[in-house]
Symmetry: C2
Subunit: 303 residues, 2 copies
Protein backbone atom coordinates (compact mmCIF):
# COMPACT_ATOMS: atom_id res chain seq x y z
CA UNK A 1 0.00 0.00 0.00
CA UNK A 2 2.70 2.46 0.98
CA UNK A 3 4.71 1.47 -2.10
CA UNK A 4 1.66 2.27 -4.23
CA UNK A 5 1.31 5.67 -2.64
CA UNK A 6 4.96 6.64 -3.10
CA UNK A 7 5.00 5.81 -6.86
CA UNK A 8 3.87 9.15 -8.28
CA UNK A 9 6.74 10.98 -6.59
CA UNK A 10 9.46 8.48 -7.63
CA UNK A 11 11.65 9.70 -10.52
CA UNK A 12 10.24 8.43 -13.81
CA UNK A 13 12.58 6.78 -16.32
CA UNK A 14 12.39 8.81 -19.50
CA UNK A 15 11.52 7.06 -22.77
CA UNK A 16 14.89 8.10 -24.21
CA UNK A 17 16.94 6.45 -21.52
CA UNK A 18 14.63 3.45 -21.47
CA UNK A 19 15.52 2.81 -25.12
CA UNK A 20 19.10 2.32 -24.01
CA UNK A 21 18.01 -0.49 -21.69
CA UNK A 22 15.38 -2.11 -23.86
CA UNK A 23 16.54 -4.55 -26.53
CA UNK A 24 13.77 -6.95 -27.55
CA UNK A 25 13.85 -8.91 -30.79
CA UNK A 26 11.14 -11.04 -32.32
CA UNK A 27 12.26 -13.66 -34.84
CA UNK A 28 10.08 -15.97 -36.89
CA UNK A 29 12.31 -18.89 -37.76
CA UNK A 30 12.09 -21.58 -40.39
CA UNK A 31 13.13 -24.91 -38.85
CA UNK A 32 14.95 -22.97 -36.11
CA UNK A 33 17.61 -22.04 -38.68
CA UNK A 34 16.75 -18.86 -40.57
CA UNK A 35 14.21 -16.08 -40.51
CA UNK A 36 13.25 -12.45 -40.21
CA UNK A 37 14.22 -10.77 -36.97
CA UNK A 38 12.70 -7.47 -35.88
CA UNK A 39 13.35 -5.02 -33.09
CA UNK A 40 10.24 -4.65 -30.93
CA UNK A 41 9.61 -1.26 -29.37
CA UNK A 42 6.69 -2.41 -27.30
CA UNK A 43 4.38 -5.37 -26.74
CA UNK A 44 0.93 -3.86 -27.07
CA UNK A 45 -1.16 -7.00 -26.59
CA UNK A 46 -0.40 -10.60 -25.75
CA UNK A 47 -3.21 -12.94 -24.80
CA UNK A 48 -4.88 -16.23 -25.67
CA UNK A 49 -8.09 -16.52 -27.60
CA UNK A 50 -9.95 -19.85 -27.45
CA UNK A 51 -7.99 -20.83 -30.60
CA UNK A 52 -4.49 -19.35 -30.48
CA UNK A 53 -2.11 -16.88 -28.95
CA UNK A 54 -2.63 -13.34 -30.26
CA UNK A 55 0.01 -10.65 -30.10
CA UNK A 56 0.40 -7.08 -31.25
CA UNK A 57 3.97 -5.79 -31.36
CA UNK A 58 4.98 -2.26 -32.17
CA UNK A 59 8.10 -2.93 -34.26
CA UNK A 60 10.89 -0.46 -34.96
CA UNK A 61 10.75 -0.56 -38.75
CA UNK A 62 7.33 -1.83 -39.88
CA UNK A 63 5.13 -0.36 -37.17
CA UNK A 64 2.34 -2.39 -35.60
CA UNK A 65 2.30 -6.11 -36.39
CA UNK A 66 -0.22 -8.85 -35.72
CA UNK A 67 1.26 -12.19 -34.65
CA UNK A 68 -0.93 -15.31 -34.51
CA UNK A 69 0.34 -18.58 -33.13
CA UNK A 70 3.88 -17.19 -33.41
CA UNK A 71 3.53 -16.26 -37.11
CA UNK A 72 3.60 -12.70 -38.42
CA UNK A 73 0.34 -12.02 -40.20
CA UNK A 74 0.14 -8.31 -40.89
CA UNK A 75 2.37 -5.26 -40.49
CA UNK A 76 1.50 -1.63 -41.02
CA UNK A 77 4.55 -1.23 -43.26
CA UNK A 78 4.19 -4.35 -45.42
CA UNK A 79 2.69 -2.48 -48.42
CA UNK A 80 -0.42 -4.67 -48.16
CA UNK A 81 0.99 -7.06 -50.76
CA UNK A 82 -0.65 -10.19 -49.40
CA UNK A 83 -4.21 -8.93 -49.05
CA UNK A 84 -4.28 -7.18 -52.40
CA UNK A 85 -2.78 -10.17 -54.18
CA UNK A 86 -5.19 -12.60 -52.55
CA UNK A 87 -8.26 -10.57 -53.54
CA UNK A 88 -7.76 -8.85 -56.87
CA UNK A 89 -6.56 -11.44 -59.40
CA UNK A 90 -9.67 -13.62 -58.97
CA UNK A 91 -12.04 -10.66 -58.75
CA UNK A 92 -10.69 -9.17 -61.97
CA UNK A 93 -10.58 -12.50 -63.78
CA UNK A 94 -14.24 -13.23 -62.97
CA UNK A 95 -16.62 -11.29 -65.24
CA UNK A 96 -19.25 -10.74 -62.54
CA UNK A 97 -18.16 -11.65 -59.00
CA UNK A 98 -21.39 -11.05 -57.06
CA UNK A 99 -21.11 -13.61 -54.26
CA UNK A 100 -17.75 -13.93 -52.57
CA UNK A 101 -16.69 -16.06 -49.61
CA UNK A 102 -13.52 -15.63 -47.59
CA UNK A 103 -12.50 -18.52 -45.34
CA UNK A 104 -10.31 -17.22 -42.55
CA UNK A 105 -9.07 -13.69 -43.14
CA UNK A 106 -9.67 -12.45 -39.60
CA UNK A 107 -7.51 -9.34 -40.03
CA UNK A 108 -10.15 -8.21 -42.59
CA UNK A 109 -7.54 -6.99 -45.09
CA UNK A 110 -8.79 -9.37 -47.75
CA UNK A 111 -12.42 -8.40 -47.08
CA UNK A 112 -11.61 -4.71 -47.43
CA UNK A 113 -9.94 -5.35 -50.79
CA UNK A 114 -12.78 -7.53 -52.08
CA UNK A 115 -15.23 -4.75 -51.31
CA UNK A 116 -13.28 -2.34 -53.51
CA UNK A 117 -15.07 -4.11 -56.38
CA UNK A 118 -18.52 -2.59 -56.98
CA UNK A 119 -19.76 -5.81 -58.64
CA UNK A 120 -19.62 -7.61 -55.30
CA UNK A 121 -23.12 -7.84 -53.78
CA UNK A 122 -22.14 -9.76 -50.67
CA UNK A 123 -18.87 -10.92 -49.18
CA UNK A 124 -19.19 -13.52 -46.44
CA UNK A 125 -16.14 -13.84 -44.23
CA UNK A 126 -16.11 -17.07 -42.24
CA UNK A 127 -13.48 -16.77 -39.52
CA UNK A 128 -13.18 -19.22 -36.66
CA UNK A 129 -11.65 -16.77 -34.19
CA UNK A 130 -13.68 -13.65 -33.43
CA UNK A 131 -10.80 -12.28 -31.36
CA UNK A 132 -8.65 -11.84 -34.48
CA UNK A 133 -11.29 -9.53 -35.92
CA UNK A 134 -11.59 -7.64 -32.64
CA UNK A 135 -7.85 -7.15 -32.15
CA UNK A 136 -7.48 -6.08 -35.79
CA UNK A 137 -10.26 -3.52 -35.45
CA UNK A 138 -8.45 -2.04 -32.46
CA UNK A 139 -5.06 -1.74 -34.18
CA UNK A 140 -5.52 -1.71 -37.97
CA UNK A 141 -8.37 0.64 -38.85
CA UNK A 142 -7.40 0.93 -42.53
CA UNK A 143 -7.22 -2.82 -42.95
CA UNK A 144 -10.58 -3.42 -41.28
CA UNK A 145 -12.46 -0.59 -43.01
CA UNK A 146 -14.48 -3.13 -45.01
CA UNK A 147 -16.24 -4.45 -41.90
CA UNK A 148 -18.52 -1.40 -41.88
CA UNK A 149 -19.57 -1.97 -45.51
CA UNK A 150 -23.15 -3.28 -45.56
CA UNK A 151 -22.14 -5.88 -48.17
CA UNK A 152 -19.85 -7.53 -45.57
CA UNK A 153 -21.28 -10.47 -43.66
CA UNK A 154 -19.16 -11.85 -40.84
CA UNK A 155 -19.72 -15.42 -39.69
CA UNK A 156 -17.72 -16.77 -36.78
CA UNK A 157 -17.51 -20.48 -37.41
CA UNK A 158 -15.29 -23.30 -38.55
CA UNK A 159 -14.76 -22.86 -42.30
CA UNK A 160 -15.16 -26.52 -43.09
CA UNK A 161 -18.39 -26.83 -41.16
CA UNK A 162 -19.75 -23.68 -42.78
CA UNK A 163 -19.10 -25.04 -46.27
CA UNK A 164 -20.57 -28.44 -45.40
CA UNK A 165 -23.77 -26.90 -44.07
CA UNK A 166 -24.46 -24.00 -46.42
CA UNK A 167 -26.66 -24.31 -49.50
CA UNK A 168 -25.13 -21.25 -51.15
CA UNK A 169 -22.84 -21.31 -54.12
CA UNK A 170 -20.24 -18.62 -54.67
CA UNK A 171 -18.59 -16.92 -57.63
CA UNK A 172 -15.28 -16.57 -55.83
CA UNK A 173 -13.94 -18.29 -52.71
CA UNK A 174 -10.72 -17.01 -51.17
CA UNK A 175 -8.79 -19.10 -48.63
CA UNK A 176 -7.03 -16.68 -46.33
CA UNK A 177 -5.60 -19.19 -43.90
CA UNK A 178 -2.75 -19.19 -41.43
CA UNK A 179 0.06 -21.74 -41.90
CA UNK A 180 -0.86 -25.43 -41.85
CA UNK A 181 0.43 -25.88 -38.31
CA UNK A 182 -2.21 -24.08 -36.22
CA UNK A 183 -6.01 -24.24 -36.40
CA UNK A 184 -5.86 -24.29 -40.23
CA UNK A 185 -4.22 -27.72 -40.74
CA UNK A 186 -7.30 -29.43 -42.13
CA UNK A 187 -8.00 -26.59 -44.53
CA UNK A 188 -4.90 -27.41 -46.60
CA UNK A 189 -6.08 -30.92 -47.40
CA UNK A 190 -7.58 -32.27 -50.61
CA UNK A 191 -10.95 -33.09 -49.04
CA UNK A 192 -11.37 -29.45 -48.05
CA UNK A 193 -10.41 -28.15 -51.50
CA UNK A 194 -12.96 -30.57 -53.01
CA UNK A 195 -15.58 -29.11 -50.68
CA UNK A 196 -14.67 -25.61 -51.89
CA UNK A 197 -14.95 -26.78 -55.51
CA UNK A 198 -18.46 -28.08 -54.80
CA UNK A 199 -19.57 -24.77 -53.26
CA UNK A 200 -18.44 -22.77 -56.29
CA UNK A 201 -20.79 -21.97 -59.17
CA UNK A 202 -20.07 -23.61 -62.53
CA UNK A 203 -17.74 -20.77 -63.51
CA UNK A 204 -16.34 -20.12 -60.03
CA UNK A 205 -12.80 -19.31 -58.99
CA UNK A 206 -10.93 -20.25 -55.82
CA UNK A 207 -7.70 -18.60 -54.73
CA UNK A 208 -5.78 -20.06 -51.80
CA UNK A 209 -2.64 -18.71 -50.20
CA UNK A 210 -0.16 -21.54 -50.80
CA UNK A 211 2.87 -20.86 -48.59
CA UNK A 212 6.48 -20.16 -49.60
CA UNK A 213 7.84 -22.07 -52.60
CA UNK A 214 11.32 -21.40 -51.24
CA UNK A 215 10.93 -22.92 -47.77
CA UNK A 216 7.78 -25.04 -47.84
CA UNK A 217 8.61 -27.10 -50.92
CA UNK A 218 6.95 -30.34 -49.83
CA UNK A 219 3.71 -28.58 -48.80
CA UNK A 220 3.62 -26.63 -52.07
CA UNK A 221 4.33 -29.67 -54.26
CA UNK A 222 1.62 -31.75 -52.60
CA UNK A 223 -0.93 -28.98 -52.61
CA UNK A 224 -0.59 -28.23 -56.34
CA UNK A 225 -0.62 -31.90 -57.16
CA UNK A 226 -3.98 -32.48 -55.50
CA UNK A 227 -5.46 -29.17 -56.66
CA UNK A 228 -4.85 -30.29 -60.27
CA UNK A 229 -6.93 -33.38 -59.56
CA UNK A 230 -9.87 -31.14 -58.64
CA UNK A 231 -9.77 -28.00 -60.81
CA UNK A 232 -9.38 -27.82 -64.60
CA UNK A 233 -7.29 -24.61 -64.36
CA UNK A 234 -4.58 -24.38 -61.67
CA UNK A 235 -1.93 -21.66 -61.87
CA UNK A 236 0.50 -20.35 -59.28
CA UNK A 237 1.25 -16.68 -58.88
CA UNK A 238 3.71 -14.94 -56.57
CA UNK A 239 4.04 -11.83 -54.47
CA UNK A 240 6.81 -10.24 -52.49
CA UNK A 241 5.49 -10.16 -48.94
CA UNK A 242 8.24 -8.75 -46.78
CA UNK A 243 7.07 -10.23 -43.46
CA UNK A 244 6.32 -13.79 -44.61
CA UNK A 245 8.95 -16.55 -44.53
CA UNK A 246 11.47 -16.02 -47.37
CA UNK A 247 9.38 -12.98 -48.48
CA UNK A 248 8.34 -15.00 -51.55
CA UNK A 249 4.71 -15.96 -51.20
CA UNK A 250 2.58 -18.05 -53.52
CA UNK A 251 -1.11 -18.22 -54.34
CA UNK A 252 -3.00 -21.01 -56.07
CA UNK A 253 -5.42 -19.69 -58.71
CA UNK A 254 -7.93 -22.50 -59.28
CA UNK A 255 -10.73 -21.99 -61.72
CA UNK A 256 -13.56 -23.91 -63.35
CA UNK A 257 -13.71 -21.80 -66.49
CA UNK A 258 -11.84 -18.49 -66.55
CA UNK A 259 -8.17 -18.19 -67.28
CA UNK A 260 -6.54 -15.56 -65.02
CA UNK A 261 -5.62 -13.29 -67.94
CA UNK A 262 -8.69 -13.78 -70.09
CA UNK A 263 -10.26 -10.35 -69.66
CA UNK A 264 -7.22 -8.15 -69.74
CA UNK A 265 -8.63 -5.94 -72.43
CA UNK A 266 -12.01 -5.46 -70.83
CA UNK A 267 -12.81 -1.92 -69.79
CA UNK A 268 -13.79 -2.93 -66.24
CA UNK A 269 -10.30 -4.11 -65.55
CA UNK A 270 -8.51 -1.07 -66.83
CA UNK A 271 -10.95 1.42 -65.39
CA UNK A 272 -10.98 0.17 -61.83
CA UNK A 273 -7.40 -0.62 -61.02
CA UNK A 274 -6.02 2.93 -60.79
CA UNK A 275 -8.86 4.20 -58.62
CA UNK A 276 -8.40 1.48 -56.04
CA UNK A 277 -5.51 3.14 -54.26
CA UNK A 278 -3.58 -0.10 -54.09
CA UNK A 279 -0.04 -0.23 -52.77
CA UNK A 280 0.99 -3.39 -54.57
CA UNK A 281 -1.49 -4.74 -57.12
CA UNK A 282 -1.81 -3.26 -60.59
CA UNK A 283 -2.43 -4.60 -64.09
CA UNK A 284 1.27 -5.25 -64.80
CA UNK A 285 1.56 -7.22 -61.57
CA UNK A 286 -1.57 -9.22 -62.45
CA UNK A 287 0.27 -10.45 -65.53
CA UNK A 288 3.82 -10.55 -64.20
CA UNK A 289 3.07 -12.36 -60.94
CA UNK A 290 2.27 -15.56 -62.88
CA UNK A 291 5.86 -15.72 -64.18
CA UNK A 292 7.63 -18.31 -62.04
CA UNK A 293 11.35 -18.79 -61.40
CA UNK A 294 12.70 -21.96 -62.99
CA UNK A 295 13.10 -23.82 -59.66
CA UNK A 296 9.48 -23.03 -58.75
CA UNK A 297 8.20 -24.25 -62.13
CA UNK A 298 10.10 -27.47 -61.61
CA UNK A 299 8.81 -27.79 -58.05
CA UNK A 300 5.18 -27.81 -59.15
CA UNK A 301 5.87 -29.76 -62.34
CA UNK A 302 5.02 -26.94 -64.74
CA UNK A 303 6.68 -27.26 -68.15
CA UNK B 1 53.04 -27.36 -20.29
CA UNK B 2 51.54 -30.21 -18.32
CA UNK B 3 48.09 -29.11 -19.44
CA UNK B 4 49.25 -29.30 -23.05
CA UNK B 5 50.57 -32.80 -22.58
CA UNK B 6 47.43 -34.12 -20.97
CA UNK B 7 45.19 -32.85 -23.82
CA UNK B 8 45.33 -35.87 -26.15
CA UNK B 9 44.02 -38.15 -23.41
CA UNK B 10 41.23 -35.80 -22.29
CA UNK B 11 37.75 -36.89 -23.48
CA UNK B 12 36.89 -35.17 -26.78
CA UNK B 13 33.57 -33.35 -27.03
CA UNK B 14 31.59 -35.01 -29.80
CA UNK B 15 30.12 -32.91 -32.62
CA UNK B 16 26.62 -33.90 -31.49
CA UNK B 17 27.02 -32.61 -28.00
CA UNK B 18 28.90 -29.58 -29.27
CA UNK B 19 25.77 -28.63 -31.24
CA UNK B 20 23.97 -28.38 -27.89
CA UNK B 21 26.49 -25.79 -26.72
CA UNK B 22 26.97 -23.87 -29.94
CA UNK B 23 24.40 -21.21 -30.77
CA UNK B 24 25.79 -18.61 -33.16
CA UNK B 25 23.55 -16.34 -35.20
CA UNK B 26 24.50 -13.96 -37.97
CA UNK B 27 22.04 -11.15 -38.70
CA UNK B 28 22.28 -8.55 -41.44
CA UNK B 29 20.20 -5.64 -40.19
CA UNK B 30 18.63 -2.69 -41.93
CA UNK B 31 19.10 0.41 -39.77
CA UNK B 32 19.62 -1.87 -36.76
CA UNK B 33 15.90 -2.64 -36.82
CA UNK B 34 15.05 -5.58 -39.07
CA UNK B 35 16.81 -8.23 -41.09
CA UNK B 36 17.55 -11.83 -41.93
CA UNK B 37 19.03 -13.89 -39.13
CA UNK B 38 20.76 -17.21 -39.75
CA UNK B 39 22.13 -19.96 -37.59
CA UNK B 40 25.84 -20.40 -38.26
CA UNK B 41 27.25 -23.91 -37.94
CA UNK B 42 30.82 -22.87 -38.39
CA UNK B 43 32.98 -19.89 -39.31
CA UNK B 44 35.16 -21.20 -42.12
CA UNK B 45 37.12 -18.05 -42.92
CA UNK B 46 37.32 -14.58 -41.42
CA UNK B 47 40.09 -12.24 -42.49
CA UNK B 48 40.82 -8.82 -43.91
CA UNK B 49 41.77 -8.20 -47.52
CA UNK B 50 43.33 -4.82 -48.38
CA UNK B 51 39.79 -3.60 -49.12
CA UNK B 52 37.31 -5.23 -46.75
CA UNK B 53 36.57 -7.95 -44.25
CA UNK B 54 35.87 -11.30 -45.91
CA UNK B 55 33.98 -14.11 -44.21
CA UNK B 56 32.75 -17.55 -45.12
CA UNK B 57 30.08 -18.97 -42.84
CA UNK B 58 28.64 -22.43 -43.06
CA UNK B 59 24.99 -21.69 -42.28
CA UNK B 60 22.40 -24.19 -41.10
CA UNK B 61 19.85 -23.68 -43.87
CA UNK B 62 21.54 -22.16 -46.92
CA UNK B 63 24.96 -23.81 -46.69
CA UNK B 64 28.13 -21.83 -47.33
CA UNK B 65 27.76 -18.07 -47.54
CA UNK B 66 30.15 -15.29 -48.54
CA UNK B 67 29.99 -12.15 -46.41
CA UNK B 68 31.78 -8.98 -47.53
CA UNK B 69 31.96 -5.93 -45.33
CA UNK B 70 29.18 -7.42 -43.20
CA UNK B 71 26.81 -7.96 -46.16
CA UNK B 72 25.68 -11.35 -47.39
CA UNK B 73 26.74 -11.70 -51.01
CA UNK B 74 26.25 -15.32 -52.01
CA UNK B 75 24.82 -18.48 -50.48
CA UNK B 76 24.91 -22.00 -51.84
CA UNK B 77 21.15 -22.30 -51.33
CA UNK B 78 20.02 -18.96 -52.80
CA UNK B 79 18.92 -20.45 -56.15
CA UNK B 80 21.42 -18.17 -57.93
CA UNK B 81 18.69 -15.58 -58.54
CA UNK B 82 20.94 -12.54 -58.39
CA UNK B 83 23.67 -13.68 -60.77
CA UNK B 84 21.30 -15.06 -63.37
CA UNK B 85 19.12 -11.98 -63.26
CA UNK B 86 22.08 -9.63 -63.56
CA UNK B 87 23.51 -11.42 -66.61
CA UNK B 88 20.73 -12.82 -68.80
CA UNK B 89 18.21 -10.03 -69.47
CA UNK B 90 20.83 -7.78 -71.13
CA UNK B 91 22.55 -10.65 -72.93
CA UNK B 92 19.28 -11.85 -74.41
CA UNK B 93 18.07 -8.35 -75.28
CA UNK B 94 21.29 -7.57 -77.18
CA UNK B 95 21.32 -9.16 -80.66
CA UNK B 96 25.05 -9.89 -80.64
CA UNK B 97 26.80 -9.39 -77.29
CA UNK B 98 30.43 -10.05 -78.25
CA UNK B 99 32.28 -7.81 -75.80
CA UNK B 100 31.08 -7.80 -72.22
CA UNK B 101 32.48 -6.03 -69.18
CA UNK B 102 31.61 -6.80 -65.56
CA UNK B 103 32.58 -4.20 -62.99
CA UNK B 104 32.91 -5.87 -59.59
CA UNK B 105 31.47 -9.37 -59.50
CA UNK B 106 34.31 -10.94 -57.54
CA UNK B 107 32.35 -14.07 -56.65
CA UNK B 108 32.39 -14.83 -60.41
CA UNK B 109 28.72 -15.89 -60.49
CA UNK B 110 27.86 -13.19 -63.00
CA UNK B 111 30.88 -14.09 -65.17
CA UNK B 112 29.90 -17.74 -65.24
CA UNK B 113 26.39 -16.83 -66.37
CA UNK B 114 27.61 -14.40 -69.05
CA UNK B 115 29.77 -17.17 -70.51
CA UNK B 116 26.74 -19.41 -70.93
CA UNK B 117 26.08 -17.28 -74.04
CA UNK B 118 28.07 -18.57 -77.03
CA UNK B 119 27.94 -15.17 -78.75
CA UNK B 120 30.24 -13.73 -76.10
CA UNK B 121 33.81 -13.53 -77.45
CA UNK B 122 35.37 -11.96 -74.38
CA UNK B 123 34.12 -11.10 -70.91
CA UNK B 124 36.37 -8.77 -68.94
CA UNK B 125 35.76 -8.82 -65.20
CA UNK B 126 37.26 -5.81 -63.44
CA UNK B 127 37.28 -6.51 -59.71
CA UNK B 128 39.16 -4.37 -57.23
CA UNK B 129 39.71 -7.11 -54.66
CA UNK B 130 41.57 -10.21 -55.85
CA UNK B 131 40.89 -11.90 -52.52
CA UNK B 132 37.16 -12.11 -53.26
CA UNK B 133 37.92 -14.16 -56.36
CA UNK B 134 40.36 -16.36 -54.44
CA UNK B 135 38.01 -17.06 -51.53
CA UNK B 136 35.16 -17.75 -53.96
CA UNK B 137 37.27 -20.22 -55.94
CA UNK B 138 37.99 -22.07 -52.68
CA UNK B 139 34.38 -22.33 -51.57
CA UNK B 140 32.04 -21.94 -54.57
CA UNK B 141 33.38 -24.07 -57.44
CA UNK B 142 30.09 -24.03 -59.40
CA UNK B 143 29.83 -20.25 -59.17
CA UNK B 144 33.42 -19.69 -60.28
CA UNK B 145 33.43 -22.25 -63.11
CA UNK B 146 33.58 -19.45 -65.69
CA UNK B 147 37.06 -18.37 -64.58
CA UNK B 148 38.57 -21.32 -66.47
CA UNK B 149 36.81 -20.34 -69.71
CA UNK B 150 39.39 -18.88 -72.12
CA UNK B 151 36.95 -16.07 -72.99
CA UNK B 152 37.20 -14.79 -69.39
CA UNK B 153 39.70 -12.00 -68.74
CA UNK B 154 40.21 -11.03 -65.11
CA UNK B 155 41.56 -7.56 -64.34
CA UNK B 156 42.25 -6.61 -60.73
CA UNK B 157 41.81 -2.87 -60.67
CA UNK B 158 39.54 -0.04 -59.64
CA UNK B 159 36.51 -0.12 -61.96
CA UNK B 160 36.40 3.61 -62.41
CA UNK B 161 40.09 3.86 -63.29
CA UNK B 162 39.79 0.96 -65.72
CA UNK B 163 36.93 2.64 -67.59
CA UNK B 164 38.73 5.99 -67.64
CA UNK B 165 41.88 4.45 -69.10
CA UNK B 166 40.61 1.83 -71.54
CA UNK B 167 40.03 2.54 -75.23
CA UNK B 168 37.65 -0.37 -75.64
CA UNK B 169 33.95 -0.10 -76.12
CA UNK B 170 31.59 -2.82 -74.98
CA UNK B 171 28.27 -4.28 -76.09
CA UNK B 172 27.15 -4.94 -72.54
CA UNK B 173 28.45 -3.61 -69.21
CA UNK B 174 27.17 -5.17 -65.99
CA UNK B 175 27.65 -3.42 -62.64
CA UNK B 176 27.90 -6.15 -60.03
CA UNK B 177 28.69 -3.95 -57.06
CA UNK B 178 28.39 -4.33 -53.31
CA UNK B 179 26.18 -1.88 -51.40
CA UNK B 180 27.02 1.83 -51.63
CA UNK B 181 28.60 1.83 -48.18
CA UNK B 182 31.88 -0.05 -48.75
CA UNK B 183 34.47 0.30 -51.53
CA UNK B 184 31.68 0.73 -54.12
CA UNK B 185 30.29 4.12 -52.98
CA UNK B 186 31.60 6.09 -55.95
CA UNK B 187 30.28 3.55 -58.43
CA UNK B 188 26.66 4.44 -57.63
CA UNK B 189 27.09 8.08 -58.66
CA UNK B 190 25.98 9.81 -61.84
CA UNK B 191 29.52 10.59 -63.00
CA UNK B 192 30.34 6.89 -62.98
CA UNK B 193 27.20 5.94 -64.88
CA UNK B 194 28.06 8.59 -67.48
CA UNK B 195 31.49 7.01 -67.83
CA UNK B 196 29.85 3.61 -68.40
CA UNK B 197 27.58 5.16 -71.04
CA UNK B 198 30.62 6.52 -72.86
CA UNK B 199 32.36 3.12 -72.89
CA UNK B 200 29.33 1.38 -74.44
CA UNK B 201 28.98 0.99 -78.19
CA UNK B 202 26.19 2.93 -79.91
CA UNK B 203 23.70 0.10 -79.27
CA UNK B 204 25.12 -0.94 -75.89
CA UNK B 205 23.28 -2.00 -72.75
CA UNK B 206 24.20 -1.45 -69.11
CA UNK B 207 22.59 -3.34 -66.24
CA UNK B 208 23.33 -2.28 -62.67
CA UNK B 209 22.16 -3.91 -59.48
CA UNK B 210 20.10 -1.15 -57.88
CA UNK B 211 19.44 -2.17 -54.28
CA UNK B 212 16.13 -2.92 -52.53
CA UNK B 213 13.15 -0.77 -53.51
CA UNK B 214 11.60 -1.72 -50.17
CA UNK B 215 14.36 -0.55 -47.83
CA UNK B 216 16.65 1.70 -49.88
CA UNK B 217 13.98 4.03 -51.26
CA UNK B 218 16.07 7.19 -51.32
CA UNK B 219 19.02 5.48 -53.03
CA UNK B 220 16.72 3.89 -55.61
CA UNK B 221 14.81 7.09 -56.35
CA UNK B 222 18.00 9.11 -56.86
CA UNK B 223 19.68 6.47 -58.94
CA UNK B 224 16.80 6.09 -61.42
CA UNK B 225 16.39 9.82 -61.63
CA UNK B 226 19.99 10.37 -62.76
CA UNK B 227 20.08 7.26 -64.96
CA UNK B 228 17.19 8.72 -66.97
CA UNK B 229 19.29 11.80 -67.61
CA UNK B 230 21.94 9.60 -69.25
CA UNK B 231 20.23 6.69 -71.04
CA UNK B 232 17.28 6.89 -73.46
CA UNK B 233 15.82 3.60 -72.15
CA UNK B 234 15.76 2.98 -68.39
CA UNK B 235 13.63 0.18 -66.95
CA UNK B 236 13.63 -1.49 -63.54
CA UNK B 237 13.23 -5.21 -63.10
CA UNK B 238 13.02 -7.27 -59.93
CA UNK B 239 14.12 -10.58 -58.53
CA UNK B 240 13.46 -12.49 -55.35
CA UNK B 241 16.88 -12.87 -53.77
CA UNK B 242 16.37 -14.61 -50.45
CA UNK B 243 19.59 -13.43 -48.79
CA UNK B 244 19.47 -9.75 -49.76
CA UNK B 245 17.76 -7.13 -47.58
CA UNK B 246 13.96 -7.47 -47.89
CA UNK B 247 14.54 -10.29 -50.45
CA UNK B 248 13.23 -7.93 -53.13
CA UNK B 249 16.10 -6.86 -55.33
CA UNK B 250 16.08 -4.45 -58.25
CA UNK B 251 18.15 -4.05 -61.39
CA UNK B 252 18.40 -1.02 -63.65
CA UNK B 253 18.23 -1.95 -67.35
CA UNK B 254 19.74 1.00 -69.22
CA UNK B 255 20.02 0.86 -72.96
CA UNK B 256 20.98 3.05 -75.90
CA UNK B 257 18.80 1.27 -78.43
CA UNK B 258 17.28 -2.09 -77.52
CA UNK B 259 14.12 -2.46 -75.50
CA UNK B 260 14.44 -5.36 -73.03
CA UNK B 261 11.66 -7.38 -74.68
CA UNK B 262 12.38 -6.56 -78.30
CA UNK B 263 13.64 -9.94 -79.44
CA UNK B 264 11.31 -12.23 -77.59
CA UNK B 265 10.34 -14.10 -80.70
CA UNK B 266 13.86 -14.60 -81.99
CA UNK B 267 15.00 -18.19 -82.17
CA UNK B 268 18.23 -17.49 -80.24
CA UNK B 269 16.27 -16.52 -77.21
CA UNK B 270 13.97 -19.48 -77.13
CA UNK B 271 16.61 -22.00 -78.07
CA UNK B 272 19.17 -21.11 -75.46
CA UNK B 273 17.21 -20.58 -72.30
CA UNK B 274 16.25 -24.19 -71.56
CA UNK B 275 19.75 -25.56 -72.14
CA UNK B 276 21.32 -23.13 -69.70
CA UNK B 277 20.43 -25.10 -66.61
CA UNK B 278 19.32 -21.98 -64.80
CA UNK B 279 17.72 -22.13 -61.36
CA UNK B 280 15.88 -18.83 -61.59
CA UNK B 281 15.92 -17.12 -65.00
CA UNK B 282 13.66 -18.24 -67.84
CA UNK B 283 11.70 -16.51 -70.61
CA UNK B 284 8.60 -15.95 -68.44
CA UNK B 285 10.74 -14.33 -65.77
CA UNK B 286 12.43 -12.13 -68.37
CA UNK B 287 9.03 -10.67 -69.14
CA UNK B 288 7.43 -10.85 -65.70
CA UNK B 289 10.30 -9.35 -63.74
CA UNK B 290 9.66 -5.95 -65.34
CA UNK B 291 6.20 -5.81 -63.72
CA UNK B 292 6.54 -3.52 -60.71
CA UNK B 293 4.35 -3.27 -57.61
CA UNK B 294 2.42 -0.02 -57.45
CA UNK B 295 4.53 1.48 -54.63
CA UNK B 296 7.72 0.76 -56.60
CA UNK B 297 6.33 2.36 -59.76
CA UNK B 298 5.46 5.43 -57.74
CA UNK B 299 8.88 5.45 -56.08
CA UNK B 300 10.70 5.73 -59.41
CA UNK B 301 8.06 7.96 -60.99
CA UNK B 302 6.86 5.43 -63.57
CA UNK B 303 3.31 6.03 -64.78
Amino acid sequence: MSAKKSRPTAPRIEETSMSDLWNMWYSELHEQKIGLTQKVNRVLESYDSPFQRIEIFDTAHLGKTLVLYGSLMVAEGDENAYNEMLAHPALFAHPNPKDVLIVGGGDCGCLTNVLKHPEVEQCVMCEIDKEVVEVSKRHFPKLTAGVKDKRAKLVFADGKKYLEETNRKFDVILLDLSDPIGPAVELFQKSFHQLVFDRLKDDGIMVAQSESPFYHRETVRNMYSHLREIFPIVEMYLAHMIIYPSSLWSFAYCSKEYHPHRNFDQPRYNKLAPGMANSYYNDEIHRGSFALPQYVKELIGKS
